[in-house]
Symmetry: D2
Subunit: 277 residues, 4 copies
């Protein structure tokens, strides 16, 4: 299992986002509170939008807590849309091509959870990937296969629908292999403009997921907080577990739902996997 | 492209095999003479048979010439059947799961060359892999796919036939994609008892491959050489390029042929790809 | 802080030693019970005596729990004298030259603990190192400096005396810098024949250290245990924390003491730092 | 030996600087033309000024030619003052703390060449380092020791004088050890505003060093070149070897001299080591 963070809003230094919070993602790499594993030391990745259309991705097989390059880059890169992910492998090798976020064109994707008994369903799932995409599979994780299925089902056109179809397909294939609860997930994806966050598991006991309270509200409750004064009203964070203990700052994403972070009003909807026709 | 070495015979320290020869494999990682690339710095791997039935495999993404662990292990591990491979990537990522030798049960496999435009034929080739094996694909190289095809076609029962069928299939799939010369290869494989070495390319211009002269002959010609005095008559080395300039020590493996190193008389045969029925 | 294990006795596969016990050292890399840090993921090292006079050392900056090469090697290397160490950095970089065990000639050395405020005393300590040894300092840890001081004070001739003088010197230098408790340590060192284990801290609250009960006794208490049946009477393990919960199997090394594992009767003595004259 | 590049001028993507030129630094990592070694595959480093006062430094032990993170970052980081260095180790370990550029506060430093028989003079040189700086030595290269000596001799106040004193000291210590030609170097250093480049060797046969022709001149000679149209008149590159074969674009830095790249007129002066008083 893993932990992740998605940030959208006022451009900040990655250091402010990844290292400075009380219970930062880097801290979670050593001491996760809500994860299945307390240690998430099997590599990490950071993706951000900045120069050019496509996001940059920096990945390492070292634990995030002791990677000097991450600390260096975090102190010198500023972005308004950031994905970060710390990995606890569920068995597949620790290599950069297995680190999240995954990228396709201007899309980023990261996942916490797993496809149950992935080894057994791997071939059936990968055969369903668009042949043109299949060639670009580089790693061996369930998460990358899941991403490529979502792309196959139209992620670039309609993310919620594509993820619902991908999950419906995975649930279907899993059950045909006798797997009771095939899917366990929280997922974030972005095209550089909007961010979608999903929480679902076949079992209905999904990995934790939280979103930050509206900055306007936080500013009102904490008028002396300099951070809230600086962040735009559009700023929002979605995280596997809260970055600190500030009362009122974090809200749990409900089971079987997804949210959209975007210009103007954000959205929260029910998530319903769509089985193959 | 890459360089490799297969050794079978009197147990030796890996150091004697990999570091000490005049133009050793480690030297070839920086200064290959006959390779397509002079530098083979994209990781390496060593496999050897010793304790237990299955061989050990040590792999690293660092260049072989500056890997301290390799130097350490080479000075302390002794084996009578050793595979070593230095990699020059043809595009796929530098990660341990892409380093040779690959292993399946008690079998080792390493490859120099490439499947032409692998990206285009990858899916067709991987679909032909035995579904039970497909699940164990860990890397993204053409060489691993080739190994798994050979296993699918019966490597464990009849290696020459299986490799001929795998290559016939790859040639067939490649041509159906409009590829004139789909296959370029030297390959070594072993079950821990015998070693098979193959040289073939669709074009008939294969990567270089050499085998060492009979130790009995070398001993006669070089009566004062302490190494030849020490090695058993059964000892044989197969290499991408000679390990030194000793006259009479190295013989080119002919185009489109394969050899078998085994107890008693070694063999050399013609290699004929078998197209799918 | 760190965790370590020293084994002397019947030659075993490293895998039996490092992976198979209930609360193995590899398990401790993720979930230490008695360590200052629960995670020891900042690299590791294994040293063993076998071929040749000098021990082999294998080191990696990856966490021990997910290092494939360690697992491979552990399954194929057999030795009767093994040191293994998992690291939790106290600030110095995660690099192979900072991983234990350190080696000098046929000597191995590993350390858990720290020289308090090492940064401040580093120069004074390193100036006291024998100039001929100074040149071989490769890393930046307090532990390597400690080792080189012990060598300077005669480790190769009389280990207990040399360590007592090195620690006395470190205590002296530390106090001259206003440091109340300069030293915190458990240490193991070996020349390939005997193993010395030390437990000491200026404060008198040293890191945990345990030694295994005599095999003869264990065999008597657990007559059906196949492991105890196989191990020689001379076999002994010293560890930062017990490898399992077997009643009667582990004994705490007393504060301020050191033990010697050797042919015949092992020894346990009081440890008294010797201040510089 | 190594290769390096220092850029000062119009902010550019690192990719334009490191990957796009005909004979780019990345190309030189595999195929150097003028270096002592054709392969510079023992790690690399990039430093750049941007956010904040202090420069960022990204280092890796992988060869530059196959490091995916370098390629990612190069495509997304823009800077007007960039140092890049590819390493060919002269014996010290391949680890990040031995990669250039080195940093102290807002200063960067990189070096090609070596202190002859560094092992023998290491202690004498390091004892001369300001004790407050000594504590920050992290690696084991001659280049880092050289940097710390230059800092000790006043680099931050008067770089040419400090380097002349450091080199005079190194020449002096070397000769007292019976070393005929103690110093071989090209060096670049910067405070984020100006860049100093040095070329010197005791022997008078220094490693190659080149600086780019004035952009105004290049623009006149190549009126259709879009790059020259885009770069400011202040833009200047200093490199170990030319990045391409454009006639008139590169000028050799004379033996025993140093240059200053700065706002307004750049400078070129004679370099004279100053022996200790």
């Amino acid at each position: 299992m893993c932990r992740w963070l998605a940030y959208s809003g006022t451009p900040v230094l990655l250091h402010e986002l990844l290292f400075e919070p009380a219970h930062s993602l880097i801290d979670q790499s050593l001491h996760s509170r809500l994860g299945v594993e307390t240690t998430n030391g099997d590599g990490f990745g950071v993706g951000w939008y900045g120069e050019g259309n496509d996001p940059a991705v920096f990945k390492s097989v070292e634990p995030a807590w002791n990677d000097r390059n991450l600390r260096e880059l975090a102190g010198h890169i500023r972005s308004g849309l950031v994905f970060a992910h710390i990995r606890a492998s569920t068995g597949t090798p620790v290599q950069q091509t297995n680190c999240h976020p995954f990228r396709h064109g201007n899309w980023l994707w990261m996942h916490n959870g797993s496809i149950t008994r992935f080894h057994e369903v791997k071939r059936d799932l990968q055969l369903a990937i668009d042949p043109a995409l299949y060639l670009d599979l580089e790693g061996s994780t369930d998460s990358e296969t899941f991403f490529f299925l979502a792309l196959t089902f139209g992620l670039e056109d309609d993310p919620p629908s594509a993820v619902e179809r991908a999950v419906g397909f995975i649930d279907h294939v899993g059950r045909s292999h006798g797997i009771e609860f095939p899917m366990q997930m929280t997922v974030a994806t972005s095209d550089g403009t909007r961010v979608w966050g999903f929480r679902y598991s076949t079992e209905g006991k999904s990995r934790s997921l939280f979103y930050s309270t509206l900055v306007a509200t936080l500013r009102q409750e904490y008028p002396d907080n300099p951070l809230f004064a600086r962040l735009s009203d559009e700023t929002r964070i979605v995280v596997s577990e809260p970055l600190g203990d500030l009362p009122g700052a974090w809200n749990e994403v409900p089971e079987s739902s997804y949210g959209v972070i975007q210009e103007g009003q954000d959205e929260l909807h029910h998530f319903t996997p769509r089985p193959p026709a």
